[in-house]
């Protein structure tokens, strides 16, 4: 029985830690993936939160990071407008030139508060 004490303590600590570390709503995803729908050659479009949508355009967001493609944002950076989930303008995305320079396109600056991941395309 003595050899179970540490194990029992581990279970208690693990369960209580999980119970107290993240009190978010379990029924709601904590983040959303938004896809860029604007012109990636225009930095203003990349910075415009309304140019990002939950609907995937179908293009693969991988490869050289030249053009904005996809971001994963925290739940609190989104809102429902006319039953559609959109990015809040307070997210304040800022655009930077892609890996091959501004002539090849713009991508969202990262790391950025509220954006937990990004993937761009060539």
């Amino acid at each position: 029985m003595k050899r179970y004490i540490f194990g029992l303590m581990a279970i208690v600590v693990a369960v209580t830690s999980v119970a107290f570390t993240n009190p978010a709503n379990k029924n709601k995803p904590l983040s959303y993936t938004f896809y860029f729908t604007g012109n990636p050659l225009t930095p203003g479009d990349v910075e415009d939160e309304s140019q990002w949508s939950l609907t995937s355009p179908g293009s693969d967001c991988a490869g050289t990071e030249n053009k904005a493609c996809r971001i994963v944002v925290d739940d609190d950076q989104t809102e429902m407008v006319n039953s559609v989930r959109v990015l809040k303008s307070s997210l304040n995305i800022s655009a930077i030139a892609g890996t091959s320079g501004s002539g090849s396109g713009y991508v969202p600056d990262y790391p950025h508060t509220g954006i937990s991941a990004k993937a761009n395309r060539p």
Partner: protein, 145 residues
């Protein structure tokens, strides 16, 4: 000898705590965990499967670490599991360093490099536990009844 078993049991409990905590955190944030896996270029094809299989395996290993007779096997599996995570982390650093690690609970706040160091520490700790259990078993075999 008792000290060695005591130390090995403490290591088992620590590794068990880590695995159980991360597994429960992943299950608690299931939708978020799946969402992050689905944007990982390495795992996106298997995101739904991995989202529940990984915590299930972590819970299974932590159960093995709970039972004294299976602790050594549990530590061996934990080394394999954590080594697998570390290889994945290294791949992420090389190919997609901008993606987050949804590793469960507070661990997702670590940077990739911190996470690799953290994993290496737990691999070393588990290996130490395995050696201690092995030595204990050898001594038990040599001791006349």
């Amino acid at each position: 000898m008792k000290k060695k078993v005591f130390l090995a049991d403490s290591i088992s409990a620590t590794v068990s705590l880590l695995l159980l905590y991360t597994a429960l955190s992943k299950l608690r944030d299931y939708e978020n965990f799946k969402a992050v896996l689905s944007v990982s270029p390495l795992l996106k094809s298997f995101a739904a499967l991995i989202a529940w299989l990984l915590p299930a395996v972590e819970i299974l290993v932590s159960l093995l670490l709970f039972v004294p007779s299976t602790r050594k096997a549990g530590l061996q599996l934990a080394v394999g599991l954590i080594a697998g995570f570390t290889i994945y982390l290294a791949g992420m650093i090389l190919f997609t360093p901008d993606l987050p690690c949804n590793c469960g609970g507070v661990l997702k706040n670590l940077t990739w490099h911190q996470h690799i160091l953290f994993n290496l520490l737990f691999i070393l700790l588990s290996l130490l536990g395995i050696i201690l259990y092995k030595k204990h078993h050898e001594t038990m075999k040599q001791t006349p009844p």
